[in-house]
Symmetry: C2
Subunit: 135 residues, 2 copies
């Protein structure tokens, strides 16, 4: 196999890459030991429950099994001081699930941290994008 270090000349961008502007995303993870307590997938799931008003609909919207969604939320509940999701019984919708105050605060903090980080690092992020091959 040839050594990639032998590539001395800049490579032309592929036509696929040149169709899209580069994007920088922060993925924030909160871990305890080897265990991921809070990460982007769980936050996305919480947002889906908040919008859909039920775990079933949230899971469906994310292309996730109900069982997987349930396990992620159950694990989140165990990681936090208070549960993030609670049942709603009755009402016009016939019940469902909604985020608790803790769940709402978790989502708010997580997204706020991402936005703050993106703003604080604007200059370096542009410099990083500048290293990418252009069409």
């Amino acid at each position: 196999m040839p050594d990639p270090a032998a590539r001395k000349a800049p490579q032309p961008a592929t036509s696929q890459a040149s169709e899209y502007a580069p994007e920088v995303r922060f993925r924030l993870r909160l871990t305890q030991g080897a265990r991921i307590a809070v990460g982007p997938g769980r936050i996305e799931l919480l947002e889906a429950v908040r919008e859909a008003g039920s775990i079933t609909a949230a899971a469906r919207g994310l292309g996730m099994s109900y069982r997987r969604a349930w396990m992620l939320l159950d694990d989140l509940n165990r990681c936090l001081r208070a549960p993030v999701v609670e049942s709603v019984h009755g009402g016009a919708q016939g019940g469902g699930s909604r985020l608790t105050d803790t769940g709402l605060e978790l989502v708010r903090l997580y997204r706020h941290i991402e936005q703050t980080a993106q703003r604080a690092c604007g200059e370096d992020i542009e410099a990083l994008k500048g290293l990418l091959a252009r069409p």
Copy 2:
């Protein structure tokens, strides 16, 4: 299967979780369309090449096959304006690989962004940690 929303009371932390202080990590990803150009795994590999002075030794240190390391570096070279790794021939070490100026700059920017983000979000990060269950 019981509804996780039914958990009303805070869950006790497991003994495993209580042994470790929570840690917050930013994982920065630079994407073009669906393609990841720069991410934590590639930066870690570049740092390993920088320290070890060879792709073979870097791959070994990360428990990665030489082939996998080569492909990641080759892809990085294609994503950027200039290659990130170059061959070193001869010398006391009998040759190897080292980062180019572009490679060094990429690692520096990436790590600096992570540090800046962590500093800028200190208060929110502490609030996020405060939502976690304690022993």
